[in-house]
């Protein structure tokens, strides 16, 4: 997959929709996508077949669709741009909540990676979009935390390089699933507090329990248990690649 391959805005919209609908890890049915994008089911089927051909998704007629690793990466990227833009339109430009979604949809396809990074910095690494409180995915740059990104302003995205692993917020881990802490989003204070409590880059962490009603997450790290509020937990990203969990 080369970068210069043309991906139409249309495909990106689909990927984004599937990304959102499959956040629970399950396959997504055509009808759901049709409803979300407000498109006839027939055209949806056609497009899903194309996504399958392009290697972005795994589609079968009765089971529904699932993103491939490549598709997931791309979907996450575009979702991140979309949600960052929503924050920008809402926080800085003070547009109404009702209009930011459509506006962001228009803008997301042309936002460069450097602009994405700058936007994230200006907005002070936001973690939630303003309209539906969905999590803004983490960036794909080779940083271990935001403090580093702020310090290395003189380097452009190209120089920094991209992370080649797919990270996941501990909030989205299943009970007892393990991960290796790879990225912490937030300012110096938050990072510092987490470090002091043993959540350092490279530490192995596992989720014990997630409290109901948007409650905190209970994790096991370094032989002890910690309760971490949802607002912080959503900013701790881990690598769940089995081979690295030694």
């Amino acid at each position: 997959m080369s970068d210069n391959e043309k991906i139409s805005a249309n495909i990106e919209e689909y990927l984004e929709a599937i990304y959102k609908l499959s956040s629970n890890g399950e396959r997504v049915k055509n009808t759901k996508i049709a409803k979300t994008l407000n498109i006839a089911p027939g055209s949806v089927t056609q497009m899903l077949k194309r996504l399958d051909e392009l290697g972005y998704a795994d589609y079968s007629q009765y089971k529904g669709v699932k993103l491939t690793e490549n598709g997931h990466k791309l979907a996450k990227k575009i979702t991140r741009k979309h949600r960052l833009l929503e924050r920008f339109l809402y926080d800085i430009l003070k547009l109404k909540k009702t209009v930011i979604h459509d506006q962001a949809c228009e803008m997301e396809h042309s936002l460069s990676d450097d602009a994405e990074r700058a936007l994230c910095q200006v907005l002070e690494h936001p973690d939630q979009c303003p309209d539906d409180s969905e999590l803004i995915p983490e960036c794909d740059l080779k940083f271990t935390n935001c403090d580093e990104c702020m310090k290395r302003l003189n380097e452009e995205v190209e120089e920094v390089g991209k992370r080649n692993k797919n990270l996941i917020s501990i909030l989205n881990l299943k009970n007892h699933q393990k991960g290796k802490v790879s990225f912490i989003r937030g300012d110096y204070k938050v990072i510092r507090r987490l470090l002091d409590m043993g959540i350092t880059i490279g530490a192995i962490i596992s989720v014990i329990k997630i409290a109901p009603l948007s409650g905190p997450v209970e994790v096991a790290v370094r032989g002890s248990k910690l309760a971490i509020g949802r607002d912080i937990a959503c900013n701790v990203f881990v690598d769940i690649d089995e081979n690295k969990l030694v």
Binding site: K142, T144, N145, D147, E148, K151, Y188, K189, V190, I191, R192, R193, L194, L195, D196, M197, G198, T200, I201, G202, A203, K209, A211, P212, L213, S214, G215, P216, E218, R222, G223, S224, K225, L226, A227, I228, G229, R230, D231, I232
Partner: protein, 669 residues
């Protein structure tokens, strides 16, 4: 002694040692100071209480206003001063506790620091030990809760630990007093012979260590004077610690530039900020030491873990939380009312308490004073003892962290996180220590919000008013209803306060400790300590206050004051005229409301107040204006302005709710 005397000019006030403790300085054996330091909830306070017995003094430090316990111990002819520092995880500078602890150790220079660690979570605890070692203080490692570790299948080789750390290591089970004698032996040993264990260097990875050493030698050769050791300063500079940066920048800006340069080098090598690298390596160090000194055998799901599964269950967890808070109150009500009845029956048999408004001055005062004693015994003892008994057990069991875990999202609605629930529940005992304990929260704003909520939490004194008026003369269920209303009020006002004090909330990060079965001796001792301090303050005030009130009553000057307040008390609140004077004295201590009623009318209050009046009066007593002691703490912690605003908010709420209650409750009776 010396240590505490040479620090008069420090900006932080640590004139910790009370004058009388210095009386021993001419004794043959030199007295010395021990500071207990370590993570939260590892048993420091248990050790402190075991060592110092009932000789406990609680010191207040102006300015920083952090309370730390301090006591004396006489051990085999030695006079030892013991300081219990607040529980912390690191010497960063994000909480007052961390700053105060590190400044205490650096400026006050205790003769020995005993680092108490939890044997069952050794790695996390050793992270702090490594930092204490960097402070270069004479250190003893006290590996506490060995029994708990054993239950978790962890066996610790203290000899290996001692060799790896280069400090004496003593295993203990503090709740049973095991190992404490050895701990003190070790302390005496060090003060007499100096370091007794071969020191070991704790070094970071070579890239980091090299830069630490380079910066350390720069600091050493700069002839700058710091209270902290050079190596420690070097590490903190590389960690980009804001306070230390400021401190060094004020003396030598080039040094800071040097550290920035070195930090950049570390960052280049590790592709990670240097503070993050250092924290990781420090944890790696702790991990290596812990792993080398402990054997983890196969772990069974322990009873504690099963309890944990219930206490954090999605449904049962909330029920548990409700049972803990509701149960504490209901238990106090039922047991308290029962004993209160027995005691007041006994007293009325022995000496019927009746108001006396004529006779000699002495007779009047004596009668008042005696009324005070009776009120104290029949009101305080029966309610406060069961309350503190249960509260102490709850506190010691570890259930509060589970309640905090479950209630985190609810607390977010009032701008706080789950941990803030712990001071709030403590507020049901007494607002004063509860406000002090808001120090476990991260920012001043959060402490202020939590404190505001606490001032509405009915403390033991207000409970006495609610019980003495409503539970006794109306019904227990109405008393419970008042508590439910109170929780609702706290929630609504909490939301309002959030609007007034905008700002970002800190998220919850809290260690979840294992459940512990509370030890009877510890529970009884703590209950007694709490009850005792209340009795010492309350009884004299009751007796003198009651005598004065009766004297004033007899002199006839209370009437006009009450009449002047009638528009508020009679018109708006529907209370009898004499209520005005209750409110004035109630501002000093809430129980005075009840005490004065008893002084005026004897124990049969049903003859002077209707059920609705009982409820309105109790509501007002519950909400209006914090007591003098609370206002004092508020002023000390947050300044007079915040104290005044909080008091005013209390007053307005009380009057508003009281008036509404008077208007809507009548149909019920």
């Amino acid at each position: 002694m010396g240590k505490s005397i040479h620090n008069e000019n420090k900006e932080v006030e640590f004139s910790a040692i009370p004058e009388n403790a210095r009386d021993h300085s001419w004794d043959a054996v030199k007295p010395f100071t021990i500071a207990l330091a370590g993570n939260a909830n590892v048993g420091k306070s248990v050790i402190f209480n075991q060592l110092t017995g009932s000789d406990q003094i609680v010191g207040n430090w102006p300015g920083k206003t952090v309370e730390r316990a301090q006591g004396k111990l006489h051990f085999e002819g030695h006079h030892i001063e013991v300081i219990d520092l607040p529980g912390i995880y690191s010497f960063s500078t994000f909480s007052m506790e961390e700053i105060v602890s590190r400044e205490y150790i650096a400026f006050e220079k205790p003769d020995i620091v005993i680092n108490v660690v939890d044997a069952s979570v050794l790695e996390r605890n050793l992270f702090f030990t490594v930092q204490l070692k960097e402070m270069e203080v004479p250190l003893i490692l006290c590996v506490n809760q060995m029994d708990l570790a054993k239950k978790k299948g962890i066996i610790i080789d203290t000899d290996k630990l001692q060799a790896a750390l280069g400090v004496p290591v003593v295993p203990t089970v503090a709740v049973r007093g095991e190992g404490l004698h050895e701990l003190m032996d070790e302390a005496v040993n060090i003060t007499q012979k100096g370091a007794v264990v071969k020191p070991a260097a704790l070094e970071y990875g070579v890239e980091v260590e090299d830069r630490i050493k380079r910066l350390t030698s720069k600091i050493d050769s700069s002839d700058l004077e710091f209270e902290y050791p050079s190596r420690w300063i070097a590490i903190k500079l590389l960690e980009n610690d804001p306070e230390i940066n400021k401190l060094v920048a004020s003396k030598s800006p080039p040094l800071v530039n040097q550290s920035i340069k070195l930090a950049k080098e570390i960052e280049k090598i590790h592709q990670e900020p240097s503070f993050s690298v250092i924290a990781s390596e420090r944890y790696a160090l702790a991990n290596k030491i812990a792993a080398g000194a402990q054997i983890q055998s196969k772990m069974n799901i322990s009873f504690s873990e099963r309890l944990d599964q219930i206490a954090t269950h999605r449904v049962l967890g909330y029920i548990t939380a409700a049972l803990v808070v509701g149960g504490l109150l209901l238990w106090t009500f039922i047991v308290g009312t029962f004993f209160s009845r027995i005691l007041s029956n006994a007293f009325s048999f022995f000496h019927p308490v009746n108001p006396q408004i004529n006779g000699t001055v002495v007779a009047i005062l004596w009668n008042g004073a005696f009324g005070g004693i009776v009120a104290g015994i029949t009101l305080i003892i029966p309610f406060v003892i069961p309350f503190y008994l249960m509260l102490t057990m709850i506190e010691n069991s570890g259930i509060l962290t589970r309640v905090a875990f479950m209630m985190d999202s609810a607390m977010h609605k009032i701008g706080l996180h789950g941990k803030a629930l712990i001071p709030l529940i403590l507020g049901y005992g007494c607002n004063v220590p509860a406000i002090d304990s808001t120090r476990i929260l991260e920012t001043r704003r959060e402490r202020l919000l939590a404190t505001f909520a606490i001032t509405f939490a009915p403390c033991a004194a207000r409970t006495i008013v609610i019980l003495g008026l409503v539970a006794v003369f109306v019904s227990i269920w109405w008393a419970m209803a008042l508590y439910a209303i109170d929780i609702l009020i706290i929630f609504i006002l909490g939301r309002l306060a959030l609007k007034v004090v905008p700002g970002e909330s800190t998220g919850l990060i809290m260690e979840m400790h294992s459940f512990k079965v509370p030890t009877i001796s510890v529970v009884l001792k703590q209950t007694w300590t709490r009850t005792k301090s209340l009795i010492y303050i309350v009884f004299p005030i009751y007796i003198i206050g009651s005598a004065i009130v009766q004297g004033l009553y007899a002199s006839g000057i209370l009437g006009p004051i009450s009449i002047a307040m009638a528009p508020l008390t009679v018109e708006w609140l529907g209370l009898p005229v004499f209520a005005g004077i209750l409110l004035i004295f109630g501002a000093i201590r809430k129980e005075f409301i009840l005490l004065m009623l008893v002084t005026f009318f004897g124990l049969n209050l049903a003859s002077v107040l209707t059920p609705v009046q009982f409820i309105v009066l109790a509501l007002i007593g519950m909400l209006y204006i914090p007591c003098l002691a609370t206002i004092t703490v508020l002023t000390k912690e947050f300044g007079w302005k915040s104290a005044a605003i909080i008091s005013l908010a209390n007053f307005i709420t009380a009057i508003f709710i009281g008036g509404i209650a008077f208007r809507i409750l009548n149909p019920f009776f």
